[in-house]
């Protein structure tokens, strides 16, 4: 019989106060008087009353909290003497990761010297007591806003029921599975329709239900059938599942690899990898790439002693269903891409990016007909993903300096969640290059970290498809950063340098099936004994154990003679490590379960057996109506409203909650200047006794895809480089990463857009000599469901390309922040301004104002020669300390870059744009054009000459001066005042959008 221990806070609890403010949007919010939050531990293990009292005293601080041990009906209840109306208890569903429970179990085991058996556990939950005369329906609406039914359970009681029942009910959400694991054969000699059904919905269970998507199409299934025909047998369920994981779009990136039109070698090899190869050749002895595209992250040289690695992942599909879980597993998952680089890199910085729908609009969507399976609101997705990265990054002790948010209503069905990690690794470890790893035949296959449960099954195949009603809930999971932190420290701070393993990789998509078979390539074979894999609870089917994506695990190859030392170290660090098999050189991937062989496939077939599917694309031409706009004489209102745009406004509330200063190396912060303005770039030192630093930036222009994806990609690449250069990045020492997030990538038109974007990646990367070192794509970011009237609806994201840049700064004090520093400093625009308004943020604002879509056609084009020259000049000027402040011009154009400079410094300016009259005919265009290749800088008058000399050969425009009084005056192309405002007014607009978040 389980016992509840409830912990009440006896003094003012800010958690309750904040939860109350979160309910303020409800029409009945005024009736809510007070909330009380009580934390509950349901202990499913027998203890004496005295032991329970002892445990309870250790679960709280007596100064601020009081425990209640509810052993029997006479025990006093936390709320029996306090008035309230409704009690809402929220806990986890069976099998969902419960981190507080882990800690509580460990705490009790250490305190009482006992062990929790496999079937004993603690389950945590939280009760929110509400006082206020609400109807049950209203209370239920509140409850709905507090929990996610995919991962949580909810119980509600009125005060009378609470008293009558003596509190809330005891609920033990134990996972109970039929403990009768079986392996079945799958007959693929069926009709094409049935094959398609297997591919789409998964293998059929005896009861007629299906196991979830394999995401295998007809060609793939037939190839598999033919292969097993040559073996003279049907595949087992686990073999089919295993191949589906390995061949998934998520793992194999067939769309990027297969031939398309005349691009025989596919987009990746022809455009992305080819660019890097070309650049490395050109750079010759100045080539700084060390490991590109082959490992979990890409790596460049940091200095003589270290490499830095970078990788950016997406976690879109899981984040749509459970934003918190999706984002936290996104960030801790990509941390493992650093840990899994070479022999293990230490994570030294996190990166995040969220593409979301307007959180202020509530537009209901459903995954199935008749208003079933509602999607979470845009606001809940937004707050969830933000909290997920908060929990994952902060608890892991990895700084999160750099990130962005981007909005478009087409992200309503599927948000994009980008998560990246920079790692640091010595160039050599024990005398050998650290980036080379090789599992040896005879090494143990060792699984380290968390245990395996049903969570995360079909993650890889699920994210290779559109989101719809069949998307499996088990694909959703919650991360456990502390389990991973313990593992991470034990591996990269100890075991790695002791030489205790020969190879390592991350258990991510596809779980063991992918990590083991991937490493088995190094030795050419593996033999896994699946029953040895430690489970969270008994009863998992073998195929589930093999493909589960349960988090916080790495797979290592440990030489037999190192196992004792390795295992001893892991035990002392509180990390579970288990031998689950052996690497072999048999050329086969063999898995046994309790002595019986259940997988036996050729390594070659497993990895390279998938058929090539040539694709054909079809060009799309668009021609939008050019807006007819009246000339404007006063643009002040537009200027201030632009600062309020979701894509421009301050998101300091996110920056401030992500620890960006842990590890002690931050140099250029994500919020800059007195005005705490969000920067596009940050700089940090990964090695505290070195003057060298790492610079990080990124860019994306998804709206440009509406006009032309070639120029969209060019602008993303140019801006990503420019953002870094503006702060002091060296254009000759910069690498980039690509994240293609596309939609409907089986449609010829979308494929054409993809091809164009990839081609631009080649052209501009080569022109700037910025090599791609790593990337990731996600091809089906579509939502297929129903709108509020039950009508079928498909929402596809705008084709999105995120380009992240990473560079090495030789002297960390030669970097420049965005804020104007001194009154009297001169303001320059570097680079030319054209009337390139197509798909601009300004047009988006006009669209909203006029309720008529304005896109235009004049998308910004990138002049790589001119820009490259400018970027080199700017780099030199910063090295010579000639620039006081610097802000790259991107979304919202010159006006916004200038605003950031002034808000950052809390200083005014007198500006005149008359010099731009040669290329621009309208004031609003001069302010808001998004022409590429431009930077706003301020320069001390004493450096005017030297600066202008340093800028020779570039088009630069002196547009004004910083003033002490915080008044901002901008004269237009005709020298008449077009903007007149104050820095305070600008800051108020800039900060208004996310006020209260």
């Amino acid at each position: 019989m389980a016992t509840r221990i409830e912990v009440a806070t006896t003094v003012f609890d800010t958690r309750s106060a904040v939860r109350k403010t979160k309910l303020a949007d409800f029409p009945f919010a005024k009736k809510i008087k007070q909330l009380h939050i009580i934390d509950v531990y349901t202990i499913d293990k027998p203890f004496t009353k005295q032991e329970l009292e002892n445990i309870a005293s250790r679960l709280c601080n007596p100064v601020t909290q009081k425990p209640f041990v509810l052993t029997d009906k006479n025990a006093s209840l936390p709320m029996e003497n306090t008035a309230f109306d409704w009690a809402i208890e929220i806990g986890f569903l069976p099998g969902v990761t419960d981190n507080v429970s882990h800690t509580a179990c460990e705490l009790i085991e250490d305190l009482l010297k006992v062990t929790f058996s496999n079937s004993e556990n603690i389950y945590t939950s939280q009760i929110t007591f509400i006082s206020g005369k609400l109807t049950k329906n209203e209370a239920l609406q509140i409850a709905d806003s507090l929990y996610n039914p995919l991962i949580q359970r909810m119980h509600i009681k009125s005060q009378q029921e609470y008293i009558k029942d003596h509190g809330m009910n005891i609920v033990v959400p134990k996972v109970t599975l039929q403990d009768n694991p079986k392996v079945t054969e799958v007959d693929l000699h069926v009709s094409d329709e049935e094959l398609l059904e297997i591919g789409k919905k998964g293998i059929k269970n005896p009861d007629g239900t299906t196991r979830g998507p394999l995401a295998l199409d007809l060609t793939f299934l037939k190839t598999i059938r033919d292969y097993f025909d040559t073996l003279g047998r049907n595949p087992t369920d686990i073999e089919l599942e295993s191949i589906a994981q390995t061949w998934s779009e998520h793992c194999k990136h067939t769309i990027f690899n297969d031939p398309i039109d005349d691009v025989q070698k596919g987009l990746f090899k022809s455009y992305i990898r080819a660019a890097t190869e070309e650049i490395r050749k050109r750079k010759g002895k100045n080539d700084f790439c060390v490991s590109v595209f082959t490992d979990n992250s890409g790596a460049i040289a940091f200095d003589d002693k270290y490499l830095i690695t970078h990788k950016v992942e997406t976690h879109n599909s899981p984040s749509a269903l459970d934003p918190f879980g999706g984002a936290i597993t996104g960030i801790v998952g990509v941390n493992r891409d650093a840990l899994g680089f070479g022999l293990g890199a230490k994570p030294v910085a996190n990166f995040y990016g969220f593409c979301l729908a307007d959180p202020r609009k509530d537009i209901p969507l459903y995954r199935s007909a008749n208003k079933q399976q509602p999607m979470l609101s845009a606001k809940r997705i937004m707050t969830g993903v933000i909290e997920g990265v908060n929990a994952g990054g902060n608890q892991s002790g990895i700084p999160t300096p750099q990130g962005f948010i981007s909005f478009d209503d087409r992200y309503r069905g599927k948000p994009l969640v980008f998560a990246g990690t920079v790692g640091l690794i010595p160039r050599t470890i024990n005398g050998k290059p650290s980036y080379i790893k090789e599992a040896q035949s005879g090494d143990y296959i060792v699984m380290v970290g968390g245990r395996v449960g049903k969570d995360g099954i079909h993650g890889a195949t699920f994210s290779s498809e559109a989101l719809d009603s069949g998307s499996p809930a088990t694909a959703v999971q919650i991360g456990d950063p502390i389990t991973q932190k313990k593992m991470s420290d034990a591996l990269v701070k100890e075991a790695r340098d002791m030489g205790l393993y020969t190879s390592i990789t991350d258990d991510g998509a596809g779980g063991l099936s992918c990590s083991v078979s991937e490493m088995a390539k190094e030795s050419n074979g593996c033999l896994v004994e699946l029953e040895k894999v430690p489970l969270k609870y008994p009863g998992l089917e073998p195929w589930e154990i093999w493909i589960s994506e349960s988090q916080e695990r790495m797979t290592l190859s440990v030489p037999k003679d190192k196992w004792d030392s390795f295992n001893d170290l892991m035990k002392r660090r509180g990390v579970e490590a288990t031998i689950v098999g052996e690497f072999t050189n048999t050329g086969r991937c063999i898995v046994t379960y309790k002595g019986k062989t259940i997988v036996d496939v050729d390594m070659k077939f497993l990895h390279d057996g998938l058929p090539v599917r040539a694709m054909t694309s079809k060009p799309v031409t668009v021609n939008y109506e050019e807006p007819k706009l009246a000339q404007k004489t006063n643009v002040t209102t537009d200027f201030l409203q632009m600062l309020e745009r979701l894509n421009i406004a301050s998101f300091a509330f996110i920056t401030q909650q992500y620890d960006h200063i842990v590890q002690g190396g931050l140099v250029l912060p994500p919020l800059q200047g007195k005005g705490r303005v969000n920067s596009d770039v940050s700089v940090f030192r990964p090695v505290l006794d070195s003057q060298k630093a790492v610079i990080l930036a990124q860019a994306l222009y998804p709206q440009y895809s509406d006009i032309n994806t070639y120029h969209m990609a060019a602008a993303s690449l140019d801006t990503s480089i420019r953002n870094a250069v503006a702060a002091g990045g060296n254009p000759d020492y910069m690498a980039i990463l690509d994240n293609f997030c596309w939609c409907s990538a089986n449609e010829p038109e979308r494929l054409h857009q993809l091809k164009e974007a990839a081609k631009a990646c080649y052209d501009y990367a080569v022109a700037y000599e910025t090599p791609f070192i790593s990337g990731k794509d996600s091809m089906f970011n579509d939502f297929k469901g129903f709108d509020k009237n039950g009508k079928p609806i498909k929402i596809s994201i705008p084709p999105t390309l995120l380009i992240s840049s990473i560079g090495v700064v030789d002297n960390m004090t030669k970097v420049v922040s965005l804020d104007a520093k001194n009154a009297g400093d001169l303001v320059y625009v570097l680079g030319d301004t054209f009337e390139e308004m197509g798909a601009s943020e300004y047009y988006a604002m006009l669209s909203e104002k006029t309720k008529k879509q304005i896109i235009g056609n004049s998308i910004p084009k990138v002049d790589e020669k001119k820009n490259s020259h400018l970027y080199h000049s700017v780099y030199k000027a910063i090295q010579n300390e000639l620039i006081e402040s610097s802000q790259s011009i991107n979304h919202g154009g010159l006006a916004i870059a200038l605003a950031k400079t002034l808000m950052g410094g809390m200083l005014g300016a007198a500006i005149s744009l008359d010099q731009l009259a040669n290329t621009v005919s309208r004031n609003d265009f001069a302010l808001f054009s998004e022409s590429q290749g431009r930077i706003v800088v301020t320069v001390s008058p004493k450096n005017k000459k030297a600066f202008e000399k340093a800028m020779e050969g570039n088009n630069i425009y002196l547009i004004g001066e910083i003033t002490k009084t915080p008044k901002v005056t901008i004269k237009g192309i005709n020298k008449k005042i077009i903007v007149s405002t104050t820095v305070d007014a600008m800051l108020e607009s800039y900060r208004s959008t996310f006020k209260g978040y």
Partner: protein, 266 residues
């Protein structure tokens, strides 16, 4: 001989490398030691003069920040800790380390009653993790950690930093000189135009010591203002120093805490 510092690690602490760096830059020698290696006896507190619990998320803050790690220490190393304090040595707890010290009852430990929990560190007023620079005014007259210090700037980075105690306890800690430092509107909160108190802490308190002053905990991170370039306005200060013909410093104001700790044994 350089004073020896033991910096505890394990279970989610995450600032041990920079804390070690700070003590070594200040003239000490620091070892990062996993708590389990102290419990097993592989490392002994006897060999060290300074014990530091750095920042982090021990046990993910589950059951209250610092609580589970404190329980582990209490279960296994309580006597060693008391002996350490009794032998005129120093203990420092930063952020999560402060939360551990408080849950262990090593601060404020009124009348040297070590082990009694007299204060709590609760969720911030906006119960969300907050990172920003603040300014401290030193209150303690006796703590060697704060020797010679008056005001200095450093950042906070925490979710549960709001100090709370009863009226009675507050009276005593004021009277007994157990308040290490308070938040005040100084250079950085003025520069950033932010309120002095970042989390609603009672009486603006950021730091508490024991009766000896040798055990000290603080919520803000001195190791995160140990370098000049960690200051949010370092570019402006660099300009200013250059104009005045002064050298641009390598270290920042937080370094003094670590220097003071080392100096105690010199």
């Amino acid at each position: 001989m350089k004073p020896k510092v033991i910096v505890f690690s394990g279970y989610g602490f995450n600032c041990e490398e920079e804390t070690k760096f700070a003590f070594e830059a200040a003239g000490g020698v620091a070892d990062i030691v996993h708590v389990n290696d102290v419990i097993s006896g592989a490392h002994s507190l006897k060999n060290y003069q300074i014990l530091a619990f750095g920042g982090g998320f021990a046990y993910g803050d589950d059951t209250g920040a610092g609580n589970a790690y404190a329980n582990k220490m209490k279960n296994h190393l309580w006597e060693d800790l008391i002996k350490f304090i009794e032998s005129d040595k120093l203990i420092l707890g930063i952020c999560n380390g402060f939360q551990v010290l408080m849950n262990l009852g090593l601060v404020p430990a009124i009348n040297k009653q070590y082990g009694a929990r007299e204060m709590g560190l609760m969720p911030n007023e906006t119960p969300r993790y907050t990172v920003r620079f603040i300014d401290l005014k030193v209150e303690s007259k006796k703590s060697p950690w704060y020797k010679g210090m008056k005001e200095f700037s450093l950042p906070v980075a925490n979710g549960e930093g709001r100090l709370f105690a009863s009226k009675e306890v507050m009276e005593i800690i004021n009277k007994h000189d157990l308040i290490g430092a308070r938040y005040f509107k100084g250079e950085m909160s003025t520069y950033l135009n932010l309120p002095a108190n970042p989390n609603g802490s009672i009486e603006d308190i950021a730091s508490i010591t024991d009766e000896t002053g040798r055990v000290m905990g603080l919520m803000p991170h001195p190791e995160r203002s140990m370098f000049f370039t960690q200051l949010p306005n370092w570019e402006i200060l660099k300009e200013k120093y250059k104009k005045e013909g002064k050298e641009v410093p390598e270290f920042g104001p937080g370094m003094q805490i670590f220097k003071n700790g080392i100096a105690y044994f010199r």
